[in-house]
Symmetry: C2
Subunit: 434 residues, 2 copies
């Protein structure tokens, strides 16, 4: 099959073979045009009825849209063609005919709702703007990995089948593992810490996480891609530096390497990150600023978690990415370390985009005794986590890290309305297939 | 914490702060040495008892092995030190004391069985040779991704929670998904095909797969890392070209970028790939060659699957990687295309390492009617897979691809005895934790 070239590589003067999908046909009487589409773009195929073999014309003009065809012929300059060149075919072969009734119109002329699009993702991905999102998603992951390596991190893969969830039994999908009860992991948290406590020191992982949350919103998924970092001899400020590096690298890579895709999405002019470092606002200052906006019905007091409305008020006030640091210890999970001089105050931080939370991180509790206390305070049985806690008896260095939501990163970078736009086959309460 | 430098960066003449694990201490009377270890290597800390503060000497020499300490002092040349430099400490801080009774000896002087090592992976990973394996694993994945991008592939992530398994209900882990029955995916096969049928055309994914196989051997895992490729307008020969490119890239990257790790593993002299293209042996020729070795008790006949013994006989005969092509259709799954001129013969191929199978691939059946027939012949209900089959009605191009076992690739590249050596937290019938 590889005797074909991509349409984008067809140069005037060449004899070329191209293959792809029938994007549209226009019959103008004596002359007709077929637009053929492949991964690289589109090209016009010209049929001059009087000068061509009848069979050839018939094949080219009767083929249903979205069929796969293979065309050989001379490439010529043609300023009136959409890409400035056209092919006069010597042969046209229908490689895979399409049913004339399509459940979805890949030319985008007829709108489809998200559910229909997800049910027919193959057709949906034949739209330039949908393809662009996933090309950009891939570039973001590439850039993020490269940045982690620049930070001296080793890529790891941790298990997705686990005996106990990171934060106990809530929000876990149960699985049957050779007769035993097990779960799909909701976070690589405990495992990445176990590796950061070894010679490897700094690790990252990009992999699936599974959360049986009942939420059904435009920014929640039940299966998501988590971008995780953990580093020995790091504190929360080091971890925030890594967050800034990774998010900045993602924006820069898209800007530098995805010009065409940004143009397809209409984002070429407004694209970019406001700054490569983000304000670090303490929780205490955050609630003060939120109260000062007057946007909330009730004033926040120290110890309150931040509602979506509170986050929105602060996001509008700040106007870009920002960290919230020094959260009350009670709001943060057991593995987050408290400040040494104030046990009510944790080293936990979140990175917020004006529209939503992107990152949760902090320095970890590395002292065995304190860790066991933390389990108990959170109502978890430390014995169930002995595989994890026991390693803290053998020289666990101070360490810090974070988890960054992969789809949320794509969603905020591209300004998508729904997180399902950033994942090929989303999983939510209603959707298990395809 | 980041006022420390790595031990490998400590230069004579510097005042440096290093932090890491107490690898060993040697008390020679008037003088004593402590070897401190971090991710970059080791460094000697010298204690001259008469010339130093008693508290400092006591702290340094009473600290248990594998404790985490932080040391500041002058770096000096010392040819008798293991790395040619040593630090005379001005301060020693015990950051995280270790229990003197270790379940595993990271210095490697005392052997431990695999089970003890996996139960204490943090300590196990403090051994140079274990760390080396996982640094190399990360480099292999990096190189493989880069090679896929060179082949014009887009990285994708497909769902791990699915309504139906790739090959039906066998060998699947069941999960409960909001009250519905679902499964952990055993292969991205059907999903990557759905994407290859779109404008994206060529895709790769590196992600976890889950197989409820009862096997408990040194080369099977119940959760593994699959390296997947799928390309539109490709046939089985194109897919084999991609296999060769990816495997070659992995070997070359390790050779070029992991010199130290290869030396640690004692592989620096014998390392390398026999050739960058692998013989393509048809199934028919393969059984002839196996029969000719005389290694099997019974002669193989056309249609037999190849046992482990048969593979071993052929592997010894060939002496390196090789493909087996043109398998009998009956042995291969429904989604593998048959040869157009012989329906008994499939386009399926395997890449074999002399020790085991690494890759399974082939051209896919892209014709809707034939695909439905294939389901029925394999005793599967095509209705259950309608989310997949219906996309074949709308212009599915010819396409081909493969799946490569990530841990098997690491295992064969490094000559590891057990696949569990190539994965941080293996999952098998006996092991669900850590």
């Amino acid at each position: 099959m590889q005797d074909r070239i991509h349409t984008a590589d067809a140069e005037p003067g060449d004899d070329a073979t191209v293959a792809g999908w029938v994007h549209e046909t226009r019959d103008l009487g004596g002359i007709a045009f077929l637009i053929l589409r492949d991964s690289s773009g589109k090209i016009q195929i010209k049929f001059e009825k009087d000068e061509m073999d009848d069979d050839l014309v018939e094949t080219g003009l009767n083929v249903a849209r979205e069929s796969v065809i293979k065309v050989s012929g001379a490439v010529e300059e043609e300023p009136r063609a959409p890409t400035g060149v056209e092919i006069t075919p010597e042969s046209v072969e229908v490689v895979a005919p399409a049913d004339p009734e399509l459940p979805l119109d890949p030319s985008g002329k007829v709108d489809a709702d998200l559910s229909t699009r997800l049910d027919n993702r193959t057709l949906d991905l034949r739209k330039d703007e949908v393809q662009a999102i996933f090309e950009i998603r891939a570039e973001i992951l590439r850039a993020v990995r490269e940045q982690f390596r620049a930070f001296d991190c080793t890529e790891i893969n941790t298990p997705k089948i686990v005996a106990t969830g990171t934060e106990g039994g809530t929000e876990l999908f149960p699985i049957t593992y050779f007769g035993e009860e097990a779960f799909m992991n909701q976070s690589p948290q405990l495992f990445k810490q176990l590796i950061a406590g070894s010679n490897v020191e700094r690790v990252f992982e990009i992999g699936p996480i599974f959360r049986a949350e009942e939420h059904n919103t435009p920014r929640h998924l039940n299966e998501a891609t988590s971008i995780d970092f953990e580093g020995a001899f790091c504190d929360q400020n080091d971890a925030m530096d890594v967050v800034e590096g990774v998010v900045t690298a993602a924006y820069e890579a898209v800007q530098e390497n995805c010009e065409d895709e940004l143009e397809t999405l209409g984002l070429e002019d407004e694209f970019g990150l406001e700054d490569d470092s983000f304000p670090r606002i303490s929780y205490e200052d955050a609630i003060e600023r939120i109260n000062a906006t007057g946007e909330l019905d009730e004033q926040l007091v120290w110890g309150d978690d931040l509602s979506t409305e509170a986050e929105k008020a602060l996001g509008d006030d700040v106007g870009g990415h920002y960290f919230i640091t020094d959260w009350p210890s009670e709001i943060k999970p057991f593995y987050i370390k408290d400040h040494d001089d104030d046990e009510q105050l944790s080293t936990g931080f979140d990175l917020m985009h004006p529209r939503m939370e992107l990152v949760s991180g902090g320095q970890r509790e590395h002292r065995h005794e304190k860790l066991i206390e933390g389990f108990e305070q959170q109502g978890l049985d430390p014995d169930q986590f002995e595989y994890y806690t026991k390693m803290f008896k053998y020289g666990m260095p101070p360490h810090a890290g974070f988890g960054l939501g992969g789809e949320r990163l794509v969603m905020t970078i591209l300004g998508l309305d729904n997180i399902r736009e950033a994942v090929l086959f989303p999983r939510d309460r209603q959707r298990l297939s395809p």
